[in-house]
Every structure is written in C-alpha cells, then in structure tokens.
Amino acid sequence: MPFIISTLLFALSLCLLPLTAGAEPALRGTGDLGIVIERASGSVQIVDTTRQTVLGRVQGLGDLSHASAVFSRDQRYAYVFGRDGGLSKVDLLTATLVRRITQAGNSIGGAMSQDGRLVVAQNYEPGGIKAFDSDTLALVADVPATYGTEGKRSKVVGLADLPGQRFAYALFDAGEIRITDLSDPRNPRTTAYPAGKQPYDGLVTPDGRYFIAGLFGEDGLALLDTWQPEKGVRKVLAGYGKGEAPLPVYKMPHLRGWSIAGGRAYLPAIGRHEVLVVDTRSWEEVGRIPVKSQPVFVMARPDGREVWVNFAFPDNGWVQVIDTLRNEISDTLQPGKAILHMEFTPRGEAVWISARDDNQVVIHDTASHKVIRSLQSDSPSGILFSTRAGRTGF
C-alpha cells in the first residue's frame, strides 16, 4: 500500500514537473547532433549541425590526442576512445558523461557491432581488441592480438565492423588481417590472413564486403573479400611507388569507408603526394591525382561528386577538393592552421573542418566552398556526427 501511494505521488509529481519547473528542456531528436573532440583539454563539444551551434561541453575524458568515437544505434550516445585507453560514454542529449572506464594502456579507436549491443575497442597496448556491453560498458570479450611463437602482441589498427557481429582489423607488427566473430561473445572465433608489411589502418566498403588494409612497409594495399575470406588477401595497387624512394610521412593517413565514391575508391598514397583511384569492381588502378602533400583524410562528399583531402604536417594548413568526374583538383583552400579532420553533414551540404591551431571549427558550404561560419573550440581534432551510427564501418 505505501508503495502504491508513493508510486502514485511520484507519477503525479512527474506530471506536474513540466508545469512547475519552467526550465524543463524541450524534447528533441539527436540525428543532427555530433561531437567535436578537443584533444588537448580532454573534452568534447556537443554540436548541432542544423543550427550550426555548440550545445555544450563534456569534460574529463582523459588524453584525447588520437581520439575517435562511435555512436549508439539510437544516436543518443557517443563512445569516445582516448589514447590513454579510456572509453567514455557521453550522452548527447544531456551533455553529460554517463560512464567512463580505462580498458587499456593505449588505444586509438573502436567500432560498433551490427546489432548495436557491442562496442569494441582496438588497442595498441596491450595489443588486441576488447568488446564491451554498449549499455553498461561491462567487458564481454577480450581478444589479444598474439602472434609468433613467443606470445608477443601486436598493435591493432583499422578495426571495422562487418555484418554478422564480425570485426575485421589489422596487426601492425604481425602484418596480418584478422576477422573475429563475436556472435557468441563468450566464445570469440578469430581467423588470420597474411596481409603484408606494417598495415597502418583499414577500411571496410560501405556494404561491409571488402576490408582493405593500407600498408606502410610496402607499395600496395591488402584487400580481403569477407564474403569469401578463404580466398585470402589480394594485393591491390601493388608497386604504386614505382620503385622511387618514398617521401617522409609526418602523419599516418586514415582510411575509412568515406573514400568510396561512384564505384571508385580514393586512397591516400604513402610517401607520395598522390591520391590513388581504384575501380571497386575490378580493384584495378584507374588513375592517380597529384596533390599538395602527404594526404591524411581522403573523404568523399556523401553524393560522391567531390572528394576533400587534407594533409600531413607541415602542409596541414591546406585542403584540396577533387572533382570526381574529371579526377582533377578543382579547388585548393586554406581553411586555417593545422587542419586535422573534416566531417560532412549527413547529406553533404556542408563540411565541418577542424583548425587545431586556430582553436576553431570552420564550416564550409560544399557547393560554393565558402565559409559559412566558425565555431570556437579548444584545439579541435576529430569531428564526428551521430548519423555515423547507421553506417557499416563507422
């Protein structure tokens, strides 16, 4: 009886709340929200891509110097992976830190499972992947990237989700691509495929079929058809350096499904100032586009009509735009100092660009390439929008 009364009272007070507390926040969705990682202060800004404003800031996320994030399937939460092994669950609606764990010594990113229930981290130290319950962040699987005969562990790069609760990733030190099936998380099943020297990152095509690892130690990329992985890795763009001495690489490029546009993949060369273009049916080279410097992010606008490219230090003040009909540079921009990342709005009318050393996020119109607005941000790096939640490989 007392229980019923208190429940009733509670329900009543809930009904009254909106009337009495005038400051009750209005209901809203999260499909146009995102985060900006403030790398030096260990915080993220919550941003609204429709109104182009900053809604709030969440602090206490640790070392975010190589941070990235994935989103819950309902697009309410961001899971931020910090360099220091921290995994933070951030509520975009309330701009609060829901939970934070330290899951490794050195981590660089993660992925979300097909069903949205597992959030998986890729770790440098100790090398391997770990899966967590996306609600509670409780550990559900620990898969070390052990290789060789002495039990050594490799740094893991390029983690991407595949259909069927599987995850593909590459081992920098072991030169392998691995696929781990977590459909029974208590019993992970991993298969390894020799891939080539020093894979530095990876991507899965937007349909979840092909996993590609970029190789630092050789001219070429490793391609695995995950529909028929038993066929093993095929080298694509082999020998793209034509035997010439590579130029120094002051920052490793990043690969992700954003590089696919119009049946072609636009991939950063390593040690050459070029974007390589491959046909995604035949996986043969169809062109190469000379660019300003070592490309880092090579990102297609969602409609695929343009590809935007930023560059490694010391040329990180530049951005170039590739016209994908002509496969030529159509524009060269200088959006600010130390351009670290770019993110297109869901349908691509604007691109948000982080200018770390200007402490600004600069929003460009993608039709005119002109600046629409700048937002203050503390040493911004990654910009990630919640619509990533619905995309395989993000």
Partner: protein, 107 residues
C-alpha cells in the same frame, strides 16, 4: 656592427654542437611541434602510440647526440620520419635534451 652580429648569428647556427640554443620563441614552437606533431605518433603526453613512449624514464641511458641523430635522420624501414629540413641540428639537440630531462608541459 650589424653585419658583425649577423655573421655571429650565422656562425652560431652552423655550429650546432656549440652552445647554440634556440631562442625563446623558437623553443615555444618546438614544444608545440613535439607535443602536437611528434605527438600524433608518440602521443600528446609522449606516453607512446604507433611510436614508443618518449618519457625521460623510458629514454634513460640515451646519449643526447644519438637521440638528436634519430630525430634528424629518422629510422628507415619504420614510420619514424627524418625531420631534416624541418628541424636543424640545434633544434634537434635542444629537443633531445628536453626529452631526457622530462619534456616541458605546454602545447
């Protein structure tokens, strides 16, 4: 007189193993460079990333000249790039000494 000063500056710049210290403004930009741009591989806190940690504890026993040489020449066959052309000998020696002493905070 001015010419004399310029000449002295030139001599200093070309004799890195002597006392040549980058000036205060240069030191500030070197701290920024190490934290941010070495940091992309070694971590902003220099606790390691794709490259190993560059903390004083981990680098204990290194001779500053060898560290400086690694910075200038890089390490072929690994992602450690040569900074020749971006950093001069004086810069590299200064960075090496700071790393060994525990790199200054700031960004």
């Amino acid at each position: 007189m001015h010419r004399g000063l310029a000449l002295a500056a030139l001599l200093l710049a070309s004799a890195p193993l002597m006392a040549a210290e980058p000036d205060a403004a240069r030191q500030k930009s070197l701290i920024h460079l190490v934290r941010q741009d070495c940091g992309s591989c070694h971590g902003l806190t220099l606790q390691g990333g794709l490259g190993p940690a560059l903390t004083a504890a981990r680098l204990k026993g290194w001779n500053p000249a060898d560290l400086a040489a690694t910075i200038i020449q890089g390490r072929p066959g690994t992602p450690m790039p040569p900074f020749k052309g971006l950093l001069d000998e004086a810069d590299a020696h200064w960075i090496a000494r700071q790393l060994l002493a525990g790199f200054p905070e700031g960004r």
